[in-house]
């Protein structure tokens, strides 16, 4: 019976119910979108790291494992790596930010292809001049670029020589030497990759490299170890950022539901008086408001999941060169808990106010 009253109350104010549920829905979407983006981008980075085809990944001293940093190593170190037992191939790349989280990567084309296998060109082909840039399909689609188009990056005009399938380390490739010249970092690399004659010897070679005094301070990872670093815990500030989003969602949910329930209680003062005259106790009144709140929170949660699926589609359709999103069903219960907690906190004061409402005053309320 009480459920029927609650549902009828919610149906009675359709617009307010819809707006409240949508507000909670946006709060849920914020959480799910951030979780989905974090996971999607980490997964994408991981896939691209795998696409290099290396067995060992080496970062210079002072570099963070998976974030971009300005730290560099001398290019000459590749000669050293090539002489290490069981190392079949060694190559390195330079990475330069070009705005936001986008980067351009300088490669030695022949070395890179020898390690990762040939690029799969959807159109065009390899570099023909120092000012050529190879872009991946996502970047081409997002920037609406085709082979032969000109694009200005790092205050320099490049010609798109080819569009490749995504999944090989980067979205934009230029000749290593040209990028080093343009960024004043001749002879410097940001990371190095080794391919072994036998991948089963990876740990052995990693241990050997780590034991060399001249490589002290270098971060040396097997590819498995390197890929395992692609988690939320290893991205500086990511967890804190997600906590901030959850905190903001809690506050928004609390305010929205608090305001909704406060106006509901004011508007229904007389009805609360009627219920009390019919024998409803303070806890019955609180119970009705709590049930309404829980229904709003659940409706908002469902709306939030649908909105987050929409956001996922929009991101992956329109900006997938910069952002990648995944649907994160394991975050749905967390989002539900946050929306319920925020909503119930918001309903607390209005609920207590309604429970304390004097029945006679409420019945004479106009």
């Amino acid at each position: 019976m009480i459920n029927r009253l609650v549902i009828e109350n919610l149906k009675h104010r359709k617009l307010r119910t819809t707006l409240s549920a949508l507000s909670i829905g946006f709060q849920v979407t914020m959480i799910l979108a951030v979780a989905g983006l974090s996971r999607g981008m980490l997964q994408d980075s991981m896939n691209r790291a795998k696409g290099v085809g290396a067995d060992i990944w080496i970062k210079p001293p002072g570099a963070s494992a998976i974030s971009l940093s300005g730290a560099s190593m001398p290019q000459s170190v590749l000669k050293y790596f090539r002489q290490v037992p069981h190392v079949r191939l060694a190559t390195g790349t330079a990475v330069q930010p070009i705005g936001g989280i986008s980067t351009i990567t300088g490669i030695d084309y022949d070395e890179f292809v020898a390690m990762s296998g040939p690029f799969r060109f959807l159109e065009g082909g390899p570099f023909q001049s120092d000012d050529d840039v190879i872009i991946d399909q996502y970047y081409a689609e997002q920037q609406k670029l085709r082979t032969g188009d000109r694009v200005r990056i790092l205050n320099h005009e490049w010609r798109v020589c080819g569009v490749v399938e995504p999944g090989k380390l980067a979205r934009l490739f230029v000749r290593l030497r040209r990028l080093q010249e343009l960024t004043g970092s001749e002879g410097k690399l940001n990371q190095a990759f080794l391919k072994l004659d036998d991948p089963r010897r990876t740990q052995e070679v990693v241990q050997y490299l780590k034991s060399q005094p001249e490589l002290a301070g270098y971060s040396i990872y097997s590819i498995e170890e390197f890929l395992s670093l692609f988690s939320m815990n290893n991205v500086p500030g990511l967890k804190a950022f997600i906590y901030v989003i959850i905190g903001l969602s809690l506050i928004i949910g609390f305010l929205v539901v608090g305001l909704t329930m406060y106006t509901t209680v004011l508007e229904r003062t007389r009805e609360i008086g009627i219920l009390k005259a019919l024998g409803a106790g303070p806890m019955d009144i609180v119970g009705i408001l709590v049930r309404e709140t829980v229904m709003l929170a659940i409706a908002g949660w469902v709306a939030g999941i649908l909105l987050s699926v929409g956001a996922h589609w929009l991101i992956n359709t329109h900006v997938r060169a910069n952002l990648q999103s995944e649907i994160a069903p394991d975050w749905w219960p967390i989002a539900l808990a946050v929306s319920l907690a925020a909503s119930l906190l918001g309903a607390l004061y209005p609920g207590l106010r309604a429970a304390r409402q004097d029945a006679i005053e409420a019945l004479s309320y106009e």
Partner: protein
């Protein structure tokens, strides 16, 4: 037989800001079971306060009120809530139906708070028939006329078979035709089902439907007719 309502030297003082308002100044009365009593008097005479106290909506300052054997002066808030569930049915001037529920929903929610479940008993179905609302039960209040809403309110007040029915100006918002119908129904309920009724009214013609009329003024019962 012991009266179903006993009021002895009842006093009620409201504190409005720093001013004490003496709403009741020593009211005493007795209502036997099955009696239909009207209370008349000008505004501010204390009729509604007496109504609210007997209905368990507000506490007593001093004196004694016993409803169906239960002494209200000793009751806590939660005990007064239980009294309203089991022993009292209210009918208000403005009907006070819950607008989001149908007529039947309004009746059922009162039944729910009264702790009654299952199908409606035949006697109550007879009351619904007497009230002439059986074909209007699935309509919401906005689709009902004033007379129909008041008849639904009466059905709601009676669904838990209360010891007393308290009606506060039940015809105050109705035209004369509907007023006569509602008053006739109250009298039929009193005669047919032995329902004890206490009705507040300004209208002498309405008061005349009762077995006895109590006249109140300045917080006291001044005359009985």
């Amino acid at each position: 037989m012991e009266p179903i309502i006993i009021v002895r030297d009842l006093r009620k003082i409201y504190h409005v800001g720093e001013v004490d308002v003496h709403a009741l100044r020593g009211v005493s009365l007795e209502v036997p079971k099955g009696e239909f009593v009207s209370i008349v008097g000008p505004s501010g005479s204390g009729k509604s306060t007496l109504f609210h106290i007997i209905g368990g909506l507000t506490s007593i300052t001093s004196g004694q009120v016993v409803v169906d054997g239960q002494d209200l002066s000793q009751l806590t808030d939660s005990e007064r809530t239980r009294l309203r569930r089991k022993k009292v049915g209210f009918v208000f001037q403005r009907y006070n139906l819950l607008p989001t529920l149908t007529a039947l929903g309004n009746i059922e929610i009162a039944r729910y708070f009264g702790g009654n479940t299952g199908p409606l008993d035949p006697e109550f179905r007879e009351i619904i028939r007497l009230l002439g609302i059986e074909h209007r039960l699935h309509h919401k209040p906005r689709a009902l006329s004033g007379g129909e809403q008041q008849r639904v309110a009466i059905a709601r007040a009676l669904v838990n078979r209360p010891a007393i029915l308290l009606a506060d100006e039940p015809t105050g918002n109705l035209d004369s035709e509907n007023s006569e119908a509602v008053l006739g129904l109250l009298r039929d309920l009193n005669h047919g089902f032995g329902q004890t009724i206490l009705m507040i009214t300004h209208n002498p013609e309405a008061a005349a439907y009762a077995d006895r009329i109590l006249h109140m003024r300045d917080g006291r019962v001044v005359r009985e007719s």
